[in-house]
């Protein structure tokens, strides 16, 4: 799998924006048994997503992995040693805007112990603290 980015966008460049508040959607584990949840706001780059995905896929062996975030925000940068002005820089990278609480990845097919070990390994790939979440079940459903 190559690095993720959108096939087509309406506008080539975006403003930075600010990340405010907690996640109000995408904050529950809904596909797999475990999820990796962001605990701080961040721009997660497509390289970080790919690194985490590779690490997860290797660690879970025959398990399944779901990517719950997508890098749909272009980030621009001006060339080195160029004078200010002359318009906005070129698109250099793509990032996913992540709010605290967002479940970034989900996986299944491993035991709880393994999941903890996998989370510890994968957490190094992100620029923010994360934690492992189990899928929410009411007590009588376990």
């Amino acid at each position: 799998m190559s690095l993720l980015f959108p096939k087509r966008t309406k506008y080539r460049k975006q403003q930075k924006g600010r990340i405010k508040g907690k996640a109000t959607r995408g904050h529950e584990v809904v596909f797999g048994d475990f999820g990796i949840q962001a605990l701080a706001p961040a721009w997660v780059t497509r390289q970080q997503i790919e690194a985490a995905r590779t690490a997860l896929a290797r660690a879970t062996h025959r398990g399944k992995v779901w990517i719950r975030i997508f890098p749909d925000k272009p980030v621009t940068r001006k060339p080195a040693e160029s004078r200010m002005g002359k318009g906005k820089g070129n698109v250099e990278n793509w990032v996913a805007v992540v709010k605290p609480g967002t479940i970034m990845f989900e996986f299944a097919g491993v035991s709880e112990e393994e999941a903890k070990r996998i989370h510890r390994m994968v957490s190094y790939k992100f620029p923010i603290p994360t934690r492992l979440r189990r899928r929410f079940h009411l007590g009588g459903e376990r």
């Binding site: 907690k22 996640a23 904050h27 529950e28 949840q37 605990l39 605290p100 609480g101 967002t102 929410f136 009411l138 007590g139 009588g140 459903e141």
Partner: protein, 210 residues
Amino acid sequence: MIVQAKPRSLSVKARRLRREGYVPGVIYGPQVEAPVHVAIREPDLEELFKHITRSTTLEVRVEGGETYHVFLKDIQVDPITDRFLHVDFYVPEPGRKLVLLVPVKLVGTAPGVKEGGILEHTHEYIEVEGLPRRIPPYFEVDISNLGLGDTIVIGDLEWDDELRPLHPLDDPIVTVLAPKTVRLEAEEAQEAGEAAPEGEGAAEEGEAEG
């Protein structure tokens, strides 16, 4: 299951209520004239959620008011602190069918798993349509007779006009899959049996070319 609730005045903000150890909630349904706003003690709610499923009928007793027989409709949880923010209770109309997800509980140990099989629990929940009084808190599925390759399908459970599944009856609930090595060996044996005459010929040709 009984839930004790106290009526909530909307002039008291939800945030203040939560600070005081209560979780705001609402009771509504086709037969409830106006939604009833309530507050439930957070420890009571945590204790309640340890024992119920999403299809358990609950009895909500509102202090100084009515008692409602309800289903849990929605729970809002803070994604970071994991505290309950709000709960919705739905009062069903007794004569009207409703659609709900009923969890499946597996009972026993499948002998097929001891033989090296993998237990695949396809349907953790079954979507059903039925009268409120007929909807069970969960379906108990006994897997103690499930050998290697055996399956229990939705049609194996008991259904009638008042309670029916919204999945095809031949949908598997749980299967004991044969481990990959056993399956591969069986497939290879089958292929070898089918392709024996051709296989010999091909081998001879290969030698001639070499």
